[in-house]
């Protein structure tokens, strides 16, 4: 795969499709409570966007252009470090979302729903605390999948 450059068509399509995938993923994450979607699906979809970039543009381009922190130690260097941070952070978010319930005096991981009235344009808006937990799921899935792909891909 590596000795042949992808075609211009592939590159251009990827360039256009990846942002769409990313937005779709975020939409799936946010709407997950009421429509098909959720943190897990959104996470996997985000990972496919990255995989598309990897396949078409290669590891080095992704590293140069997308990932801000590229220092790191040993096998944790490069984007892998960011991915590892993502799944660690995601796990922290999910656990924090659970512990927050304990702070309110209800059992671990109890979720609540708040309806906020009188918001311009939207009127009534429902916010489920489960979204915070789902966000954690999202980051764990994205981080873990990309870590595995980056590590295996680098070999």
């Amino acid at each position: 795969m590596s000795d042949r450059e992808p075609t211009v068509i592939a590159k251009t399509v990827t360039r256009m499709v990846v942002p769409i995938i990313a937005v779709t993923a975020v939409a799936l994450l946010v709407q997950g409570h009421n429509l098909p979607g959720g943190g897990f699906i959104a996470g996997v979809l985000t990972a496919t966007a990255f995989v598309l970039l990897y396949v078409i543009y290669g590891l080095d381009t992704v590293r140069r252009t997308l990932v801000l922190r590229s220092e790191g130690y040993g096998f944790l260097s490069g984007p892998t470090e960011s991915y590892a941070r993502a799944f660690a952070g995601g796990l922290a978010i999910a656990v924090t979302a659970g512990i927050a319930a304990v702070a309110f005096g209800v059992p671990f991981l109890t979720q609540g729903v708040v309806f906020v009235e009188d918001i311009p344009l939207y009127g009534e808006l429902e916010y489920a605390s489960a979204l915070a937990f789902d966000l954690g799921v999202y980051f764990v899935v994205v981080g873990s999948l990309l870590t595995i792909i980056a590590v295996v891909g680098k070999e």
Partner: protein
């Protein structure tokens, strides 16, 4: 007086909390952390002292949903062990400051020793069997670390392993015994319980019923033997005494603590604690006596003889410890109407006396080794001119150990003689062996005690030469001096010790409802002759007559020890050494590196177990089989089947993986047809990702694609594949045909959405119209948390495994060129793995990582 739960928990928790603080405090205090540890031990001692005189149980909820409580029980015996552990702890920590000054690993040493002390307190005060077992094994684990303190030395490693293997194995027997007891109690009116003592429903409170239930099921003797196995291994009774002399590899303060006052005392404590459960208030001699009194007396004699054969001062003390523990177990073991109380008195009093004189002697041994730089008996002698105070201390302790009237050990040994005598007199016949063996063993006790004392008397041997022997620092001298003071008081006025603790500790080992009489001992009693006083005097006389022949005896014992067949050490070494090649061969057999060797038994086992389960429960429904699915579904499934067949016939990895993904995408369409958009979306995405991942790793696989070489293997593979398919088919049938009366989906559907009337905030409904997602993040959020943790762990594992491999292979680049599998690098393993991947898709994943594992750039 009822014990205070808060104080008890604080006393137990204090050492553990302090152990956690040790690393931080060591940075600030340096070696003075020893005094912090001593302070902690003193704190626990003080907290326990406030409970002095209390008796009863306190219950703390532990796992309330399972009805498990942590029950702590306070009585004389628990306090005796607790005071010994924390009190001797104070002295040992103080002593360690001087002793450990030039050693390494202070943080590990003090933290582990504190944790050990806490575990020991837990053993003493835990009243329910499960907590007792946990603390019991904690003492084994911490003592493993302490015995192996010099972790780089082979002898320490051997010693730590040996003590761990023997005591933990014994502990597991004990656990089995506990389970038998708890289940036997289930047949009684009080019901199943793990609480041993203290509550109305406890095993001991219903001792008669429990004994009856045990006898009815024929489990009385097995339960007794299992519990006793825990005690005799922990307390180093023959033939399990072999770990104790090796354990002397530990730093001497550890030996003084573990092998005088604590660790080994856990075993005798257990015997004392279970005595009321197994010993009925009957005139007959119970099984308890046949087992424990015999084991105790035989061990006492054998290990006393072995102590005479010791060449090292700590080895001598180790055998002597096993011998005195034998005495205690024999005391507790002797029962029957006449000996019921005497036996308990013997045990309780000797626990105290032995701890006092043996801790003193270990500390003295540490001083000698520290100052004279040798522990060889033959190289030591005449030290009284250099260490006069230590010599005085040793004289008090050693004479107590010898059982010379009126030193402290004499009083409790006298009780043993009395107990054996009355048992023999009441039962006659072979029971006269008990007093005879007791006297015979005690002669050797006298011999080695005097030999130890002679370190300080006689002439300085030439080997010691002009070695300049310093006086020990105060922190090393004060602890044994204090203990010797206690020994003196107990010697001259034994009644003090009896009144303070021994009497109440005795009562803990008596059957419920027995009215105990008060034990009275005093010096004037020595002037009225009794048969047992005669036994004591006979012991001393025989010992004095034999002592001149000590060297011949010593040589004789050493020769006898060399005979392999009678040496438990030989069995231990043969067994452990023999186990090595067996386990190596077993590892190669079950861990061959070829994917086939893992997959075939696993799949076969799972299928057979699942099918057997269905068959046993008649779970397989037959009514759903005739239903005809819709035309689109038939078409999609048909394509999936074609894809599956194509996987099996694919000529290369790449083609196989692509065919496999056809199968996956068809499954996604099935989900769409079944109105499950969430599942379909997930399946599609995962299928895409897995395809990419496969293609990435397949690049690194050898081009060779598995060939089925023999017909028999083809038949076996096909049979296995069919069996797995059939199992999955049956499982789906079983799972989908279940129709419980109160299905959970009704609850989920009712609670997932927004309720018709609601306020601005609510937590009892999910508030989402996507039930699948609400289940994932709300109803079963705890499961999801577990799952994402697993996902994160998998990523972490890939990261570290691949990363670590890159590091280890950095130095062996040439070897990596040949692309061996990481596990042993056998080329045929790769071939086998590739071969198996054709049969199952999970196989492709696994062996792909296996095979590319060795390939580094």
């Amino acid at each position: 007086m009822q014990p205070d739960a808060g104080v008890l928990v604080a006393a137990l928790a204090l050492p553990f909390v302090a152990a956690l603080l040790v690393p931080a405090l060591f940075r600030v205090l340096g070696q003075k952390v020893a005094f912090f540890a001593a302070l902690v031990a003193a704190g626990s001692f003080g907290l326990l002292a406030t409970q002095y005189g209390a008796q009863g149980a306190v219950q703390l909820p532990w796992v309330p949903s399972l009805g498990v409580t942590l029950t702590l029980y306070v009585d004389g015996l628990a306090l005796l062990i607790g005071f010994l552990a924390s009190g001797v702890g104070v002295l040992v920590f103080t002593y360690s400051y001087g002793y450990m000054a030039h050693e390494h690993g202070h943080v590990k040493y003090y933290a582990t020793l504190l944790a050990f002390m806490g575990s020991m307190l837990g053993v003493a005060f835990a009243a329910d069997l499960l907590a007792l077992f946990v603390f019991w094994e904690l003492t084994s684990v911490t003592s493993f670390l302490l015995i192996g303190h010099h972790q780089r030395e082979a002898a320490s490693q051997y010693a730590a392993r040996k003590s761990m293997l023997i005591t933990v194995a014994g502990g597991l027997f004990m656990l089995a015994g506990f389970l038998v007891l708890a289940f036997a109690a289930g047949d009684t009116a009080a019901g199943r319980t793990f609480v041993l003592v203290g509550t109305g429903e406890s095993l001991i409170a219903n001792g008669d019923a429990v004994r009856e239930a045990l006898r009815a099921s024929g489990l009385f003797v097995p339960a007794l033997a299992l519990v006793a196995a825990g005690a005799v291994t922990k307390s180093a009774q023959a033939p399990f005494h072999v770990w104790l002399p090796n354990a002397m590899e530990a730093p001497t303060p550890v030996s003084a603590f573990l092998h005088s006052a604590t660790m080994v005392k856990a075993g005798v404590y257990l015997v004392g604690r279970f005595r009321p459960l197994f010993v009925p208030d009957l005139p007959a001699v119970p099984e308890w006596t046949f087992l424990l009194a015999t084991v105790g007396l035989v061990s006492m004699t054998i290990t006393a003889i072995l102590a005479v054969g010791a060449t090292d001062i700590k080895e001598l003390l180790a055998y002597s410890t096993a011998s005195h523990l034998g005495l205690i177990i024999a005391g507790y073991g002797l029962a029957g109407a006449e000996a019921l109380e005497l036996g308990a008195e013997t045990g309780a009093f000797h626990i105290l006396n032995h701890a006092v004189f043996k801790a003193t002697l270990f500390l003295v041994a540490g001083i000698v080794a520290h100052e004279a730089h040798t522990r060889k008996l033959s190289e030591l002698g005449g030290l009284r001119r250099d260490l006069p105070v230590v010599a005085g201390i040793t004289a008090i302790a050693a004479l107590g150990m010898a059982g010379v009237p009126p030193f402290n050990g004499f009083w409790s040994k006298e009780l043993l003689f009395e107990t054996t005598y009355v048992v023999a007199k009441a039962n006659g016949g072979l029971f006269w062996l008990y007093p005879a063996v007791a006297v015979f063993g005690s002669v050797f006790t006298f011999l080695y005690s005097v030999r130890f004392l002679m370190l300080f008397f006689g002439d300085r041997p030439a080997a010691l030469g002009d070695t300049d022997i310093h006086r020990p620092p105060l922190s090393m001298l004060a602890p044994p001096a204090l203990l010797a003071g206690i020994a003196i008081v107990t010697s001259l006025v034994p009644q003090v010790a009896i009144d303070i603790i021994v009497q109440s500790a005795t009562e803990a080992s008596l059957p419920v409802g027995l009215e105990p009489h008060a034990l009275k001992l005093s010096i004037p009693k020595l002037f009225s002759f009794t048969p047992y006083l005669g036994m004591s005097l006979l012991t001393v006389a025989l010992g004095a007559v034999t002592y001149p022949f000590y060297d011949q005896l010593h040589a004789g014992v050493r020769r006898a020890r060399e005979v392999p067949v009678t040496s438990p050490n030989w069995y231990y070494d043969t067994l452990t050494a023999g186990a090595n090649p067996v386990s190596r061969r077993l590892a190669i057999a079950v861990h061959g590196g070829a994917f086939r060797t893992y997959a075939a038994p696993f799949l076969l086992g799972t299928s057979v177990l699942a099918l057997a389960g269905y068959a046993a429960t008649d779970a397989v429904p037959v009514d759903g089989i005739g239903a005809v699915p819709s035309a689109p579904l038939v078409f999609v499934l048909g394509v999936a089947v074609v894809g599956a067949l194509a996987v099996a016939r694919a000529p290369s990895h790449i083609a196989g993986v692509l065919m496999l993904s056809i199968l996956g995408f068809m499954v996604a369409i099935v989900y769409i047809l079944a109105n499950a958009p969430d599942l379909a979306l997930t399946q599609l995405l995962i299928e895409t990702l897995v395809l990419v991942l496969f293609l990435l790793v397949l690049d690194k696989l050898p081009a060779y694609y598995g060939e089925i070489r023999t017909r028999s293997r083809a038949v076996a593979d096909a049979a296995l594949a069919s069996l797995v398919g059939f199992t999955v088919f049956t499982t789906v049938l079983v799972a989908t045909s279940a129709s419980p009366d109160d299905p959970i989906y009704e609850f989920l559907l009712a609670r997932a959405g927004v309720p018709a009337e609601h306020g601005p905030f609510f937590a009892d409904h999910g508030g989402g119209s996507n039930v699948v997602n609400v289940i994932l993040v709300d109803f079963r959020a705890f499961d999801t948390l577990g799952e994402i943790t697993v996902v994160a762990m998998a990523a972490l594992a890939v990261l570290t495994l691949v990363g670590m491999r890159a590091r280890t292979e950095a130095g062996a680049n040439e070897a990596a060129e040949r692309a061996p599998a990481p596990d042993g690098g056998r080329p045929d393993a790769v071939v086998e793995a590739a071969d198996a991947s054709g049969a199952s898709d999970a196989g492709a994943d696994h062996d792909a990582t296996d095979a590319e594992g060795g390939d580094a750039r």
